[in-house]
Symmetry: C2
Subunit: 318 residues, 2 copies
């Protein structure tokens, strides 16, 4: 597949009708792109009533093409995957009808492991990854509330950015979505983990705290800093250089934010699965395999595993 193979007027599938798929796929559809949504629980609602986006960047109520079977969409040039990492197991069975030889896969997901999983099943050459910096909720079937931010950081799984990477970024840019091309997808993933690992993790295991409550406690703030330092050390051992003083800068940037409940805490409280392996387990294992000393990260991972398992057990008993 040559670099020039990403066509003008691409046929696009969006897998997952949650907040991420609905918002970014919706913005592309709104701006005239040929977008097809593969939906499950939201299918009937979106088919009959369309997709609704409520956003400070502009509301939209869109009639969109959607299907509840991949066969009804057929091969596309780009598949945007907006499901949670905990559902990645479904992809090998789900995606094949959407693929032709040159189909690109864009995985919009936090954490580590998903890119490699797609590469293993469908070939590394076609995999791109994206990190979404966005506050967004699916508040009802087919209804997406976009609250703030929205940037996608986009990179190639198998190396440096190419023409196609920039073409996809430009497509988002032309559709009201800020999109930045990353020189290294892996480094970008680790960079985001430096924030997500402490804040998402502590928000759950420290008793259900938002970001402001975490930083209001000097002991927890110190722990955030130490966790960030461990994650950074893991990244560096793996060859990913991150900005100097990253922990200090991230804490300073988080402090003036409004009290923010992390997505992991919202998932945990609602009884939904938390992306424990991709955000904590896989980073921990990779950092340790590279020789990094990450005792707090490992402990946080073990505690999250345990509290999530207990929560699931207590749910089953109800």
């Amino acid at each position: 597949m040559a670099d020039s193979s990403f066509p003008a007027g691409p046929r696009i599938a969006v897998v997952g009708g949650g907040a991420i798929g609905g918002y970014y796929g919706g913005r592309l559809a709104e701006h005239g792109h040929d977008v097809h949504f593969l939906l499950r629980s939201d299918f009937a609602q979106v088919r009959d009533h369309g997709l609704q986006i409520i956003s400070p960047d502009g509301d939209a109520h869109l009639r969109v093409s959607c299907a509840d079977r991949a066969e009804d969409i057929g091969p596309c040039d780009l598949v945007i995957i907006g499901i949670k990492a905990t559902s990645n197991d479904a992809l090998p069975a789900l995606l094949p009808p959407l693929l032709h030889e040159g189909t690109l896969l864009l995985l919009l997901q936090n954490g580590l492991g998903g890119d490699e999983y797609l590469a293993g099943h469908f070939g590394a050459e076609r995999v791109l990854g994206g990190l979404c910096f966005v506050c967004i909720n699916r508040t009802a079937p087919g209804v997406i509330h976009h609250l703030a931010q929205g940037r996608i950081s986009l990179g190639e799984f198998s190396g440096a950015p190419r023409d196609r990477t920039r073409q996809i970024a430009a497509m988002f840019q032309d559709s009201k979505v800020d999109c930045k091309v990353e020189p290294s997808l892996a480094a970008a993933r680790w960079h985001k983990l430096v924030w997500n690992i402490p804040f998402n993790g502590l928000s759950v295991v420290a008793g259900g705290l938002d970001t402001a409550a975490i930083l209001a406690d000097a002991g927890l703030e110190k722990l955030v800093h130490e966790l960030m330092t461990e994650v950074r050390e893991g990244a560096e051992r793996l060859g990913h250089t991150l900005p100097e003083h990253l922990a200090d800068a991230m804490i300073a940037n988080t402090r003036p934010m409004q009290a923010y409940k992390t997505s992991s805490l919202l998932d945990f409280e609602a009884g939904r699965e938390v992306e424990i392996e991709s955000i904590w387990g896989e980073p921990c294992r990779r950092a340790q395999a590279a020789g990094a000393n990450v005792p707090r990260l490992e402990m946080l991972y073990e505690l999250l595993r345990s509290v999530a398992a207990e929560k699931a057990r207590s749910r089953c008993k109800e």
Copy 2:
């Protein structure tokens, strides 16, 4: 105060009518000792209906001397303190009417800090400490259920055992209570912390687990071992030599125990205060001051502080 000053037929006060004070004080009273209970919430019940012990070592229903004001008891030769560490602040105001110049104070409490607190207020010379290895509950006012074990490990705050230490131990031994004299109270306290810090701590922050559930999870078992190693290193840095392979031995001894809910977990679940500073905070600070590297202990302490504070806040909202 000479070593020989602990009198035959001592006058004994017991402060605290919870499980510890009720059980050990009750055993002494049962065996003919001159015991006076200082009670608060259980006063009327014990005054009118006596103290009841239900135990595999023999039940007892005792008419005991009790009071709800220390002045009504007056000076004693030994004051046995069976309150939680979280209530130690009350002692400087509570104890003086019970003291004469030679009164000994025996603090039956886990963790660190209480001995020093008593020594600071009443003089180091009179302070002894004890660690109770016992499964025991106060199930109703004046009713103590003793389930298993019962040993007290007894030591002097200010140094090696003396005649009086052995005399007090003998008094317990003669009253159906196994009592061992410890060459070093501080080492005995650290020894017990090697177990309590991981098991009591993880039982709370890992999602409400009993000992069997903790050890059934390989990741948590590894964390138990690592925490035990950190606590041991803290003790060693402070000059307390603990047995070789202590972590392995304690885990091996805990595995065949019945699923056991730690007292900290019972306290936490019931909305009672957890002894966070004496079991985690003070050991962590002392280990760090001695140069030990205890990242997991520090993290456990911070998480416990936070979940307990959140629990207290949510209780206030109810």
